[in-house]
Amino acid sequence: MDNLIAANLKQRPMRTLLSVVGVALGVILVVLTGGLARGMMRDSAQRQANVDAEIRFFPPGSFSTAANPLKLRTAYADAILHGVKPAPEDSDVEPKPPVGGVVAASPVGEWVQPTLGGIGFEVIDGIDYPSFCQTTPLRLVEGRAPADSGTDDGPYEAIIDRYYSEHNGPSDGQQVKVGSTIPVFGRQFTVVGIYEPSVLGRVKIPLATMQRFMGGADNCTFIMVRTEKPEMAGQVVANIQEYYPGNNIVLTRDLPALYSQGIRPLEVFLDVVIGLAVVISTLVIFLAMYTTIIERTREIGILKSLGASKGFIVMVIEKEAALISAFGVVFGFILSVIGKYGIEARTRLIIDLHPRWLLMAAIIGVAGGIIGALYPAFRAATLDPIEAISYE
């Protein structure tokens, strides 16, 4: 039977190849889409977690960047660190002590813009450089810190991380260097420094520059707060909530889980992609096997005349479908790996080829093929042997 299956596949090489490619497409869809989603989220979560500050202070409402770019007063950073000492004439301002256990507080603005290539997006951080370095491990490896010109006409300065420098050059192999210009807010910013490690967004500009472009003077998106000791974070959060109630305060270590909750639509999207992949694999194999049994009606009649049971005939068709699907899965994996490195070399997208997704794609590819062949297989098994053997 195995010789018959192999011989059948070789007899129609173009149809076999097209069926394999069809299954491979479903595999690629699952592997690359899932890998892209996971890769980008993992990278983003890593950079979000790569800070020394244990606490993140948000304004009331959603902590999502897209919801409130610059809506938090930067004065909170100073208030948390040094307390509030109102002037005599500010009788309506309540004095507040410094929050105990805090060693640094840094306001950060975040803005999301499309990448230059139009694929994906990038986060721009507006930072106060000195305080930012106190709350993260950021260190310049080339150049200097960015400065705000104080005017609307520039010049505009930015610093970038090593990954951005290596992956966004004007052509293959080239890098973005100190002195290059990059587009931010629709204007050309001069790269004045390159930093490591990757923290939050890959591009940082002075917070004052961002405030000028976004019209949020004296505002930021959130404030990072670093404590004397990590184990003090809980108490510090309690104190901040007591002194400045009504705001969102999140521990940095809880951010990945919170981001996961916020990307439920992404999970739904991935489920849809998987469903599409199943449909593609199933339909491709269904059509291939259906035309196969039409073409081989006489052969099926011969099998029946030899005493082949319905189960035997179903197994012949299903084995052939499973073999095509297996080839499609392997071919899909190969193309996915090539696609991953090709896409990552030409864009800032990150694609994770996680074994779980590879296994899921393999199961989808083979299962879809087996399911797709069921109807043609049972149709073949129930053919009238005399009509089948007489079929021209």
């Binding site: 030899l306 005493g307 053997i389």
Partner: protein, 229 residues
Amino acid sequence: MNNVLETIDLKMVYHVGKVDVQALRGLNVKVATGEYVAIMGPSGCGKSTFLHVVGGMLKPTSGRVIIDGEDITEMGDAERTEVRRRKIGFVFQRFNLFPTLTAEGNLKLAERIYSNGRGGNVDRRHEALRLLGLEDKMHHKPLELSGGEQQRVAIARAIVNRPAILLADEPTGNLDSENSKVVLDMIRGLNEEFGQTIVMITHNPEAAARADRVIEMRDGHVVGTTEVV
């Protein structure tokens, strides 16, 4: 002597639209173990229908069919298929070999069907091909064989599992006279040397003359039986 094949008042009616066609009208046929029987008759007399019914590929309208002691009349399709697998070998006018498999591959497939996918016996395959004079053709595909050779491969495939009865439907119908003679000699040899029970339908009197007995059919009836001397 035991009968390998027995039909009792066998009837087959085809419903073609609003018309009923009586292909078999009460056949009573017995074929003993080791007997070589030819069934002759003009086109449309019911020869092929008879072969399909006794081969388990068609359920009769009424009557009984007993193959090697098993009454297949009331069996379902799966059971008749199983009897066909175990006890019946078929040879067709159009050879009906798998074009993508070699001569040996065709026999191997028949063996795997017989054993429900478990495997075959290479010695038995080679012996069957040798009996039919095909030992140097076993790795050839059907397109690389002459008509006579293809039909001999088909015969080898039909007997490789040592069926109780070999049913041949016009085995020389697509062959020239020279190849027909070779094939008929081979069939005769299977019967004489190995006692293979054979029922062959033909419209060729010369082919029928090779058998032990000739049954003549007309309009779904048996109209005569002749012992061949």
